[in-house]
Every structure is written in C-alpha cells, then in structure tokens.
Amino acid sequence: MSSSTVSWGDFLDKLRTEIYLGGMASEWKAVRSTLIRTWGDFFRALAVGPFPWRETGRQFVRVINDGWVTVVAGSVVQGIFVMWLAGYYGKMFGAYIWVGSVTAYAVFREFAVLMTSVLFAGRIGTAFTVEIGSMQMSEQIAAMSLMNVDPQLYLTVPRVVASLVALPIFTAFSFGVAILSSWLLMAFFWDMSAQIFFQNAFMFTPATLLTNSLIRAFVIGFTVALNAVALGFHRCAGAEDLGRSTTKSIVLNLFSVLLIDLLLGILFTTLSSGLRG
C-alpha cells in the first residue's frame, strides 16, 4: 500500500522530468539556461537591430501557408464538437434554440484560442525546433556567425514576430470556421435556420470576449515560437539530441499554452468583473 503512495514532491519531480525529458538536474539546468539565454538574446537583438523586415515577411507567409490547413481542420472539428455537446443537452432540456449562443460563447471564450494554440505548437513550433536544430548540426548557424550575421536577429526575431502576428489571425479565422461548421451541422440535423442560429449566437458574446482571446493568442504565439526556437539552439550534436529537443519543445509548449491560457483567462475575468464592480 505504502509503495503505491505518490508524494507531492514525487509528482513535481515526475512533472519536471516530463517537461525536460530527463530527471538529471544537469539536463534541466542546461535547458533552462538555453531558454533564458535565447529569451535575453531575442530582446537584445530586437534592441540592436536593424529589424529584419524581409525575413520576417518571409516567415509570416511561411507560417500562414504551413498552418492554415491544420487550423481549418481543427476548427471544423472544434465547431462540430462544441455544437454536438450543446445541441445534445440543449435538445434534452428543450433549450436547443440556445445552442448557437452556447457554441459561440464556448468557441470565443476558450476553444478557438486553446485548440488553435495547441495545433500551432504542434505544427509550427516543432518545425522551428527541428529546422534550427538541423541548421546547427549542419554548421549553418556557425556559417552565419562567420559572415557577421547575428543568428538571433536573422533566425529568432523573424520567427517570433511572424508567430505573434499569425496566431491571433489563425484564432480569428478559427472563430469563423468553427461557428460556420457548427451552424451547418445544426441546419443538417435539426433544421435550424441561419437567422435563429446567428441571432442567438452573438447575443451573449461581447466584443471584449473576442479581444481577450486575441490578446491570449498574441502572448501564446510569442511564447511558443520563442521556446521552440530556443530549443532549436539547445545543444544539438546529432539526430538523438535533435529528437530530444523536438520532444522537449512540444511538451514544454503544450504546458505553456495551457498555463498562459489559464492565467490570462483568470486575469481577464477578474479584471472585467472588477470593472463591473
């Protein structure tokens, strides 16, 4: 009985091991110092400049191109999922006319930003880690330094700035796709007219709900991209190191997404209820 008891300390150790993928203190210290260094380098590079407009534009186009299909697919599934739950229980309690409201509220308040961020961390974040890690392995980053090109300015800044702009755009896009897909399903299964659905849909969704979600997407886009790039810069001597860095990147970013979403969600809710008195 006592052997199966897990203490709070054991749980935290296990969690740390999961995030850093290795229980060795030296390994998680190395990851932590890489993250701190890259975050510092990002702001230093941004301050020193010049701002890499062209490369940032190129990365933005690339992020949008690489991510939109995943976001659309995720948003369709998300809209159907929320609508199905709301419709099923709404019908059970004779309140299915409010399905549009519930769906819109759930999507705007939480699901769009959370699902899009998770997909973004998986699709774009890991791509950044693998790309920069393999550039390091093939000495491309060393070559950059030899040509007096600051790798932080050329690689980190454009990816991070492109991501913090792209994720809110993806989130806004996800709102639309999720709401549209849930209405289509409502119309198909329960013959709900577009007029009733959309009239009710936006009845309880204030504009602040939308802006709060977009601010959360902005912060998450920034954090996910910077973590992913930082782990690309982490020691990478071979394929095994690259694999470990990539896994660290996705695990760390998923935790970051959940944590930022939770903390900012609480902050915005507290602020808005505080403002209302």
Binding site: A142, M147, V149
Partner: protein, 249 residues
C-alpha cells in the same frame, strides 16, 4: 598577421586546447596537422569567436579580439573567412543565393554588381553551371566549392579551412586542393588549413605545425617536416607505419 597566445579551451571539464600558441604569417600557407578529435576544428572556431575561450589571447593585425568590444572584434574577425567542414550552406537557398548572401545581407553592393561577383567567384571554383541548384542536390565536393566561393566573396585577408578533404574521394579531394591553391595564388590570401591528410600537407603546405595534447608540439617548413627523422615525421607521419608494425603487419 594572426598571433595566438596561450589559448585554452575546455568543454565539460576536459581541456581541449591547453595554452596553445601559434603565429600565422601573412602570405603563407600554414597547415596544422593532428589526429582526429585532437581539437583542430576547436582551434579555428575559438579564434573566430564561435566557441568560448577560457584563457589566452588572439591578435588579428595587432588587435586583441578576445577582449575587444563586439564591434571591433567583428570588424577584425571579418577579415577572416572560413570553409567549415560541412560547408554550412543554407539549404533553403540556391547556390547563387548562398554565395550572394553576405553581400546582400550587409548591403555591400547593388544587385547587378552582386550578380557579377557571384558569377566571377563561381567560375573561379568551377561551379558556374550549378548556380541555380540547391545544396541538397550537390555532391560533397561541389558543396565545398560553393562554400569556398561564399567564403571568398567578401575578399577576406585570411582564410581558414577546416578539414577540407574529409569525406571526399581522392580525385575530388585533389580538385579541392587545386582550388585552395588557385585561390591562394590568385587572391593572395593568407591560408591556415587544419587537416590530418598528409597528401594535402605535401601539396599545399609551406609551413607545417603539429597539434598534439592540446598545444603545438612542433613547427617546421614543409621540406624539413617531410624528411624522415624530423619531429613532425616521427610524431605524426610515421605513426601509420608504426601502428602497422606494432600489430604485426
């Protein structure tokens, strides 16, 4: 001239370079010879600021770059080009864009002039027909040549080569050696090569230094170094025969 004094580099508690001192004289080709894993690449990268240095000094044209401000160190290190072991070509760019990259990034010339210079250097390294190709479609030898063109397009005063023949077959290796010599003669670049390839030493070396146990244990001119009984001959070149003999072959 590049003066390296008491350079010490260590990783995870292991000292790779231990108070290494070396002079690279202008206009000469110096070859640093040493076994695999002895720290030859570390030496070049430490001089160019790609690796942290624990102690010592590096003077390029009279300026101590390890303790200089970032901008001064960048200016003086900018006088040195380097051909990395893997080439370090950007795989998202064509050969043309790779060679043009430093000029475009630092806005050193208008686009028409960049085109002309890229074509000139591509011709010098026999790569004019492959300018539109991407690095993943190049052979090992072609990659080195493209990287060489990129290294020399900014007209460096010094050029470092990190194991330029590693992984190449003898004929491709010979072509790379010829190119290094051609670049040196046509552009007058002071050259520092690190290698374990004795054939390369014989073809390119003017001075030969031996790196062993973290520091330079011998330095001789090519003729002396290649004479049986010399320090470098005994400590490195004859080692293959000696190992064969010791194992009964």
């Amino acid at each position: 001239m590049i003066q390296i004094r008491d350079l010490t580099v260590a990783f995870s508690g292991r000292t790779v370079l231990d108070h290494l001192s070396l002079d690279v004289y202008e206009g000469k080709t110096l070859v640093v010879l040493g076994r695999s894993g002895i720290g030859k690449s570390v030496l070049l990268k430490a001089v160019l600021g790609l690796l942290p240095v624990q102690a010592g000094s590096v003077e390029i044209d009279g300026v101590e770059v390890l303790k200089a401000s970032v901008s001064v160190a960048r200016e003086y290190r900018g006088r040195v080009g380097m051909l990395l072991q893997n080439g370090g070509l950007f795989d998202s760019m064509s050969v043309f864009d790779n060679i043009a990259f430093p000029l475009r990034y630092h806005k050193l010339a208008p686009e028409a002039e960049i085109r002309g210079r890229v074509e000139h250097y591509a011709e010098l390294v026999d790569l004019k027909d492959a300018l539109a190709v991407f690095p993943q479609d190049l052979s090992g030898g072609m990659r080195r040549r493209a990287a060489l063109a990129r290294a020399i397009i900014q007209n460096p005063k010094y050029l470092f080569y990190d194991e330029p023949s590693t992984g190449l077959d003898p004929s491709t290796s010979a072509l790379v050696e010829i190119l290094i010599r051609r670049v040196k003669e046509e552009l007058g670049i002071t050259t520092l090569i690190v290698t374990h390839d004795v054939d390369m030493v014989m073809f390119l070396g003017e001075d030969v230094a031996l790196l062993s146990e973290g520091h330079i244990t011998a330095r001789q001119d090519l003729k002396t170094a290649m004479t049986p009984g010399s320090e470098i001959w005994d400590q490195f070149i004859s080692q293959r025969e000696k190992a064969h003999r010791e194992h009964g072959f």
